[in-house]
Each structure stands twice: as structure tokens, then as C-alpha cells.
Assembly symmetry: C2
Homo-oligomer: 230 residues x 2
């Protein structure tokens, strides 16, 4: 399948690597192709930035947001939450229309230091904002509640854990669920929370996620929902 | 130990039953003793309201907020979040001073229907608000992330799960941890998140908790943090 990924950071790279392994054609989209390609060195987490990463991932094409969105039959939003709506506008409403968009973004605001707060929460969510702004796109929020490495490799953890789906379109959620299964998730561990407004719940997990990363001294953890006798 | 519990609802009752079982002396506090005692019937969840419940729990004393706070060497806030600060003010700053307060409340706003939103979140929390309002009280937030039955009976679940502590005072957190162990929690499952500002994380779990209760069709579940190789 032809898949367009918006965003060239750690999340986009990790998803792109996995999709290429699975035999998909991938184009990643960025605001400024030249700047993205010529950036070298490591990011804050010691990972190679895109200009280095792409040398070992030459099957991945790089385009503008608009080119990647036009290329993909299926789209992934891996931009940082604070720039998501602008990136999607740059991608172009027509290029997004009638497609499934897997939204991994989180509305994190790092501008006031650590830990970040949320730019949107409680009675709204970034998932809803995207769905309202692009009503013809089938937005499904998922994978935003854990580290990028775990998104595509849940078996890094010693036990099965859970992942959530939020979206209005049942067929689109079924498609994302199949994608997650191809990533290594067990289908019984994917919890369909309901329509896109339930993204308020999954996005508001981030405040405890970030603090747990500090307390546990690792980002390699996830939530398992343990259920008692009904 | 003499323990004062503010609030006479399901959470307060469940904690009171356990504390009495464990040999503590318990006084519960309410706004209006007569109204609380004469209420009969069941609540929305089919549980007997206080006037019925107390007949089978006659070791528990009932007082005003102020009487219960004055009685307790150790205090539990089991009021609903929307009324917590007023209840604590009625309890009296002097009655709260220099005591540990286990804060189980959540800032849930049911006034606009279900699911509730939060009255306070993101850059503040109810735990912090209580600590700011009563600076001489040692506020420790805990047990607010799961159903009342599980608070005092974590072994109702088929696996061990996690519980969080948020508070500024290490000794107070150690005291709450011991209380949790006496309730049946394994000490390794109690995660100290840090100072009271980390309550922003645990309180913002509620939006997904509430939606999970609907999706799973049971309130008898909890979060287990599964950690990968460090």
C-alpha cells in the first residue's frame, strides 16, 4: 500500500521503518525538504536526525506535506501536536479527503519547560480538532499513548499491554486495528474506546505518562488494563 | 489510630469498613448529620445510602466535618471533588493542621452530563489546590485512580496492579504507603510520583478511566504499568 507519513521525527521514522519492512511504499512529508535532508547529527535523545537516518532507509521517499499526502492512499500524522493542524493544512484538504488518517500526535506544550502541559484538553482534544477541521478525513487516534519503539514492537515488553482506538468511522478503525496487528499487537489488546471525542481520555494520559517516564527512568513501559470478575 | 473521614458516600464507607476491620477508630464527617442519618434507600449504583449502611457498621461514628477532623489524628478526604475545598474549610484549618490528609477526591464535573469533565486540570490539580489552601496539612493524593472496592481489596483483580502517591512530604507518603499495604497492596506496586504537582497526572487519568468503565462494562479494573528492559 502507498502510505504517506506527515512528520519526519522519531515517531515518523519508526513507523516508516516498520511499514517498509512490511512491504509498503512510504513517502514522508515535511515542511522544508532541503532543510530536513541537510540536517545532520543527533537529536536530544541521541538518535540520528533525518538527514542521517535516511541514508540507511533509502526506500523511504521524502516529499513536502502536500506531496506525501497526495502520494498516500493511507496517511499517518506523526507531526508534533503543536504544529499538527498547520501541517495538515499545508498537506491540503483535498489530499486528505476520503482517506484514513492515523493520528499519533499529542497536544504537548513544551514552551513553558518540563514537564509539558497540554495545549488542548478536558472538553476538547486534538483528535477532535483535526476531525472538525477536515470533516471528509477518517481520523483515528491511536499509538499516542506509548513510546515510538513500542508502537511497532510491543513485544519489547515482558507482558502484553493495551492500545486504544478513538474514531468515528468503524471501517477506518478496523483498518487501523489490522495495521496494529501487522505491527505485532494482539487483536484482543486493542481497545476501541468509541468516537473521536474519546481521544480526550487517551490524550490526557500523557501527563501521567511523562511523569512516569521520569519516575521509572525509562520510556519503555505501557499500560495494561487488568479487569476483574464481571 | 483515630481516623477522621470526610465524606459519607461510597468511597468513605468502603474506607471506613476497612479501617474498622483493621482495628482503627473511625469518625465520618458530613455537612448535615441529621440529613445523612435519615436518608434511606439505595444510591444510583444500588448500594444502601448512609442511613442504611450505618446500621450494619455501628462502630463507625458520625460527626460534622469539623468533629470528624478534630477527632482524627489522621484524615481521609472522600468528599466529591466539586465540594472538597468547601468541606475542608467547614472542617476547619486548625483541625487539619499538622495532620496527614489522604486525598482520594477527583475534580469531576457532572453538571454537564456524562461523561464528566474536570473542574481543574492541566496546569493545576485539586491536590495542589488543597495543599495551597491548607499549607500546614500534609496532603497525599492516592487511591483516586480506581474503584472504591479495589482501593481496599486489590486482590479482587487477577493480577497485581499499580497505585500512585503524590505529595510533598516524604514521611506522610511513607505513612500512606503503610496504610495501603495494610489494605492489601504490595509495596512494590505503590509508585511515588513525586511532589503534589504530580497529581496533575493521576487526576487526568480519570477521563480515560470513565470511558474505559463504559467500554469494559465494569468499574472493576485498574492500570498495571508494564516496564521493559532498561
Amino acid at each position: 500500500m502507498k502510505i504517506g507519513i506527515l512528520g519526519t521525527g522519531m515517531v515518523g521514522q519508526t513507523i516508516a521503518e516498520k511499514l517498509v519492512q512490511l512491504g509498503h511504499q512510504v513517502m514522508m512529508g515535511t515542511r522544508d525538504k532541503k532543510a530536513t535532508l541537510t540536517k545532520t547529527g543527533k537529536d536530544n535523545f541521541g538518535r540520528p536526525v533525518f538527514g542521517e537516518w535516511i541514508k540507511k532507509n533509502s526506500k523511504v521517499q521524502l516529499g513536502t506535506y502536500s506531496e506525501a499526502a497526495s502520494f498516500g492512499e493511507f496517511l499517518v500524522n506523526a507531526t508534533s501536536g503543536i504544529g499538527t493542524v498547520d501541517a495538515l493544512k499545508a498537506a491540503g484538504e483535498n489530499n486528505l479527503a476520503n482517506k484514513v488518517l492515523l493520528d499519533i500526535s499529542n497536544p504537548l506544550d513544551f514552551s513553558k519547560g518540563m514537564p509539558p502541559s497540554l495545549t488542548i484538553c478536558n472538553t476538547d482534544s486534538l483528535g477532535e480538532q483535526i476531525q472538525r477541521t477536515f470533516p471528509k478525513t477518517k481520523v483515528v487516534k491511536s499509538l499516542n499513548t506509548l513510546n515510538a519503539y513500542l508502537m511497532t514492537n510491543p513485544k519489547l515488553l515482558p507482558e502484553r499491554t493495551n492500545i486504544f482506538l478513538n474514531g468515528n468511522d468503524s471501517n477506518a478503525k478496523a483498518e487501523i486495528k489490522n495495521l496494529l496487528i501487522s505491527f505485532g499487537w494482539n487483536e484482543n489488546d486493542v481497545i476501541d474506546m468509541g468516537d473521536i471525542s474519546t481521544a480526550r481520555g487517551t490524550e490526557q494520559i500523557l501527563p501521567i505518562w511523562i511523569r512516569l517516564m521520569g519516575t521509572l527512568q525509562t520510556p519503555i513501559f505501557n499500560f495494561k488494563i487488568v479487569i476483574g470478575g464481571k
